[in-house]
Amino acid sequence: MSSKLAISYQHVTKRFGSLAAVDNVSLDIAEGEFVAVVGGSGSGKTTLLRLANRLIEADSGTITVEGEDVRNVDPVALRRRVGYVFQSGGLFPHLSVADNIGITPKLLGEPAAAVAGRVDELLELVQLDRATHRDRLPEALSGGERQRVGVARALAARPRIVLMDEPFGALDPLTRDALGDDYRALHRKLGLTTVMITHDMTEAILLADRIAVMRGGRLLAQGTAAELSSSSDDYVLELLRTPRRQVERLNALLPMGGAA
């Protein structure tokens, strides 16, 4: 790869007791890339993601973020410069939308006026209405709105890297589709590097530039959807068969050129 690396895992292992959650994984993510990590529950994909901002510490191997070994970076500072979108939002229920979004800039010591301005910018960026949403508590938002706030919060401190842990998993299909597309557009517009965890191969294929497949803590394969389809691994092929079958059945069931 010719461009600079945003994140690089080299022979990384993380054990929980006797279980190897991440087992000797090596993976490079280039700047500006959108990588999806796909796998079932217990595959180690979430652990892999959290190793990157030191929410979890690796047992062995090396992880670099923007060229620096994460072990040499203060974990708090690291997390403030890497955006993180949590499964089902992870919004603080006692803080307003604006306070949730502005939390990281505030932690970084930005003046209140600057934080407020940044919050307004971000609300616009994730297409939420400033007047109606700014001062609400998370409980007053729909699932899709909450996740938009979660994305805005991750972007607030202008990170170049965003980590997403099954961000759209709990949403209804229409919202999920719209949010995926909107995020993809943001990724391109802001020149982000994005690593997204998902168990949904269709979502991965539609959003990501490259896909990494994990199972039982090991990285089975990585590459574009097209590259993966020539993999020799049965599990990888099985994962790819599902979206293909869905497309075939949908094509058969939905009349072409219809209102859909």
Partner: protein
């Protein structure tokens, strides 16, 4: 006279600034100390199951100790601590009143604060704590910005419970020398002044409710992020503290403190002595309702300046003597022994308040009982009641040994109820007090003790070490010495046991002075 026009309400009200002020101060200080210890402990142990378990178990054990016992235990503990600091650092402190009460109450407040604190902090969705870490909070920021605000409602519920407990339990700090709203209750129970009892209970309940509501206001203010609400609540608490500080500021602290134990005779005598000191131009205040194990130590330490005790009590409890001497000889020997502790035995008041076995006159006549020796022949078929300490006192052992007493049953009772119990036949014999006015009222008779198994109990006036050379004090008290005979004291005690305006200790003390002042 209707309940509402009873002048005792006015008398109760006149004590309110003093009692309420002291009550608020000791309760809030205890609560503040309890919070200052418990909240950090709850935060520190929230993720450490082993120390958390030990801490909660200890706090639960403290909670099972009855409030009165916990408060009473702190007194000897602090006395010991004070003697240690005196030996090691040359400084001592008073183990009496505020300090033991505050420490015991603080300990008492810990369980709800700890338990709710830990429950509140542990009940937070782990995903939120992860999110706090993920957005770049330090552990401290996570605690302050996320965990504490989310745990706040549960924590505040614990703090409010603690506040109500502490304010209620603080009424029990009267016997260890801390003035509180309990003074109304203890004095009222002892002198059958139900107006005082009611007043004390209602006042402490209202105080507890008020503090609870103010804390609730602070909580809702914090939760809704309304500075006005939490500000008002904090202002209310501050106003309460300020209002209770003002009356004390103006009071001189140089006055004499007259101690009194927890029964009516003592309330009357302390009021009498206070009146005498004031009549001599000395400022004085009564500190009533002190536990009988606390009061001597308080005198020795100079926390009170004078009080009346009984020769036989000190003989047994302070000198640990079991032999029995004639009245005058015992007092003389006691005087020498007390002088070694620099305590002045100023003299006898004239009457004796000894234990005596008491039964209805008519019943005694019917059975042909005049002395304890006569009683012994019938004791196997009779029941006896005594106060809480009588059956563990040496007198009881001596009586049993001397006369071979063997009762069918023995019961412990609140002293004021014993006389009615024996008059109504609820029990057959009681261990009463010779100076008690109820003996005459209920037509009871005190049985003679021909073998002199019970030591003499002369009422004696004691002065604290630092008052040994105080001529003005001694001159003011001299007119009381030897003037109060048993008949007069019985009548005074009978008056004090009444349930009307003339039965307050102050009123009875004035009556008593009219009787003996001219003698």
């Amino acid at each position: 006279m209707s309940l509402f026009t009873d002048p005792r309400w006015g008398e109760a009200l006149s004590h309110l600034p003093d009692y309420l002020g002291n009550h608020v101060r000791v309760s809030l200080a205890a609560l503040a100390l309890g919070l200052a210890v418990s909240l950090p402990l709850a935060i520190l142990t929230r993720n450490r199951p082993a120390p958390r378990g030990i801490l909660l178990a200890l706090a639960s054990i403290v909670q099972t100790v009855p409030g009165l016992a916990l408060l009473a235990l702190f007194y000897p503990l602090l006395l010991l601590a004070a003697s240690v600091t005196l030996a090691w650092f040359g400084v001592s402190f008073s183990a009496f009143g505020f300090l033991p009460a505050m420490l015991a109450l603080a300990l008492y407040s810990m369980l709800p604060v700890l338990r709710n604190g830990i429950t509140g902090l542990n009940g937070i969705d782990p995903a939120l704590i992860e999110a706090a870490e993920g957005v770049g909070m330090t552990a401290r920021q996570s605690l302050l910005i996320v965990e504490l605000p989310l745990a706040l409602p549960v924590m505040m519920a614990g703090i409010r419970t603690a506040a109500v407990w502490v304010i209620g339990t603080a009424t029990l700090s009267t016997p260890i020398g801390q003035t509180s709203l309990g003074n109304y209750i203890f004095a009222g129970l002892q002198t059958q002044n139900w107006v005082f009892v009611l007043f004390g209970c209602v006042a402490s309940a209202l105080l507890a409710l008020a503090v609870d509501q103010l804390l609730g206001l602070i909580e809702s203010g914090l939760r809704r992020r309304s500075r006005v609400r939490s500000g008002l609540g904090a202002l209310g608490i501050a106003a309460l503290v300020a209002a209770t500080l003002v009356p004390t500021m103006g009071r001189s602290s140089s006055g004499y403190v007259v101690g009194a134990k927890t029964f009516a005779e003592q309330y009357v005598l302390s009021a009498l002595m206070r009146d005498r000191l004031e009549a001599a131009g000395l400022s004085a205040a009564a500190r009533s309702g002190l536990g009988s194990s606390v009061i001597f130590g308080a005198l020795k330490a100079g926390d009170i300046d004078l009080y009346v005790d009984y020769s036989g009590t000190l003989w047994a409890n302070q000198l640990h003597r079991t032999d029995i001497k004639p009245r005058a000889e015992l007092v003389a020997e006691l005087k020498t022994a007390l002088a070694k502790d620099d305590i002045t035995l100023l003299g006898e008041l004239g009457f004796e308040n000894a234990y005596a076995l008491v039964m209805p006159r008519r019943r005694a006549d019917a059975l042909g009982i005049r002395t304890v020796a006569d009683l012994a022949a019938h004791s196997a078929t009779l029941s006896i009641a005594g106060d809480y300490e009588f059956f563990s006192r040496p007198e009881w052992a001596a009586l049993q040994k001397a006369y071979g007493l063997q009762f069918r049953a023995q019961r412990q009772m609140q002293p004021d109820f014993m006389y009615a119990a024996v008059a109504s036949g609820e029990v057959d014999v009681i261990a009463g007090y010779t100076s008690d006015g109820l003996i005459a009222k209920y037509e009871l008779t005190a049985l003679d003790d021909p073998k002199r198994a019970i030591p003499p109990y002369d009422a004696i006036l004691l002065l604290a070490p630092n008052r040994a050379g105080d001529a003005r004090l001694q001159a003011a008290l001299k007119p009381l010495l030897g003037k109060i005979d048993i008949a007069t004291m019985r009548e005074a005690n009978l008056r004090a046991s009444g349930n009307d305006a003339n039965s307050s200790p102050d009123a009875v003390a004035r009556w008593l002075w009219e009787k003996v002042g001219g003698r």
